[in-house]
Amino acid sequence: MPSKYAIHTLAVPHRFKSVSRSGIIAWEEGCLKCAVCVKKRCVYGVYDNRDLDPMQMIDSIDNQCMNCLRCIQGCPKELIHKSLNPEYKALGDSYWAPDIIAKLWYQAETGKIPVSGAGYPGPFSGPGFDSMWTDMSEIVRPTRDGIHGREYISTAIDLGRTTRHISFDEEKGLESGSARILDIPLPIILRTPTFGAISKDTINGWTRAAKGLGTLMALPQKMISSTPEGSAPWVIPMISPEESGAPAITEETRVAEVPWNEEVSGLVGEMEDRYPSLLMSVRLPMDHRAEERALVLAEDGVSIIHMEAAWNGVSMGGDGGFLKDGIRSVHLRLVEAGIRDEITLLSSGGIAMAEHVPKAIICGADGVFVDFPILIALECRMCRRCTKGLSCPVEIQGASPSWVASRVRNLVGAWHNQLLEVMGAMGIRDARRLRGEVGRAIFFEELDRATFGSMGQVEEGCELE
């Protein structure tokens, strides 16, 4: 058995003060000047070394406060209040919600799994991935001595295509060339987000992180010149037909990507013939034609299909479908046609939390691309100011490559641990076996239909009293 894959993380502080969820409002007026003020009794000492960041006007008490609310309850004149911070509420959008962003910041800073404390105050179901519940029934067994314990839980996946059967040549030797496989130690591939105040240093840092993690980084052709030397095996050039200039593929490139078009299979075949160890991936927009197109690609012998949903995980076709359903339908179509095992299915768009990785795999993907989280790991607030030519509030473009690489490493490390936890709790010890395992999840829509589907319908001609 190979040595265990582990991601070693180390806390990497923010460069800017982060936007805190709530802020303290303390009145001075009416203060009784008690001999020992509640502020002095703060167990975390947040009032003692108070400091104001003048450029962002962020008060250190808000970042250090642990929300124990002792001061608020203790002040005899009730002069201390706590309120939600309007800047926090304004973070991101409806999909990249403030709580998701704050948790990603935490993971990139500490490399640790975020723990929200006792009790869960949120809703039990919601749109998108939130309507899937994973099975945790085996939580007691494989994790007996921790996720890094004796039992080996493998998160590795294979990229590429396999053959339906083995064939031999005239000399009774194995016919070569039919199977082309690359294995990566975790089902997560990095990819540049569609916006962001990024610079050469950012791209350099991301590529370093991908190399360090043993995974890949997908980059548009024009960004490849910013990658550090010797990183070609870890880069997936996203080739665009319109773009001219130096070809992005070298002898060392292991995976490259082209966008879907009617004649793409021919191009893919040509490239794979020219480079004997290259795997080609076809980026297919997720919409109502994806099933058909994926089937054709699989039959044409394409190695990897990358199903791309929009930034918030919804269909590119404007029909409102969500990534999880898109993956499921393509996966099932390939299963029905009996060729699912011959092809790799990757997906992207809206992967925002660690749990989305196993959920996408359960729906039928082999692995996922992660895009915006690697930007949010660099403190991005998803304010989209960069798309309007305004300055980035956290000056991402100025971050050093090593800082970028360590932040992303921490984030992926935390996600990897959560993947191990989830797989352990499901009693699954190989990420390859998790693919399409819908028996390990409950889909809210299905449960809802089965339980309440027949209720509440008024038959024609019937009067309700």
């Binding site: 802020g23 409002i25 009145w27 001075e28 007026e29 104001l52 003048p54 450029m55 006007m57 209040h81 309120s83 939600l84 911070n85 309007p86 800047e87 304004a90 304010c383 100011r385 309007k388 030519g389 305004l390 300055s391």
Partner: protein, 139 residues
């Protein structure tokens, strides 16, 4: 400290000011560029003289606060207190020989509510007479 702009305004505003959402804020920043720095705060009562003074010390020629109308504060007395704090800051400024008009307060009106953008423009008009702050002038 070298700065390109003529006048920079540090503008704090309470979250109850009409049209003060993130999109409005970004539109304003696009319009004014670097001469406007906006700071939303949960309640104007959160403002302390140190906020205004720090802004004047670091980047602003003027620092203002926009509050919700009297009687509309979620925390009952926030805007009332903000007013007192602005007065206190003005006193400090005149004590050290700076124009007290460099800090100010705009209290919203219930009858004729004004949006963040309208108020920001009015404040800009008001401070344009002051000229650059002496804090940054010596270089």
């Amino acid at each position: 400290m070298y700065r390109e702009q003529q006048i920079t305004l540090g503008l704090f505003y309470c979250q109850n000011v009409p049209e003060s959402r993130e999109e409005n804020r970004q539109a304003l920043e696009e319009e004014f560029g670097k001469s406007l720095r906006l700071f939303p705060i949960p309640c104007s009562g959160r403002l302390e003289p140190v906020h205004l003074l720090k802004a004047l010390e670091r980047f602003a020629d003027a620092a203002f606060i926009i509050t919700c109308p009297v009687g509309a504060c979620r925390y009952f007395e926030g805007n009332h207190r903000a007013k007192k704090r602005v007065e206190r800051t003005r006193k400090i400024l005149s004590d050290i020989g700076m124009e007290p008009e460099r800090v100010g307060i705009a209290i919203g009106s219930k009858e004729a509510p004004k949006t963040l953008a309208q108020q920001a423009r009015e404040i800009f008009r008001e401070i344009s007479l002051l000229g650059p702050s002496p804090v940054f002038g010596q270089e």
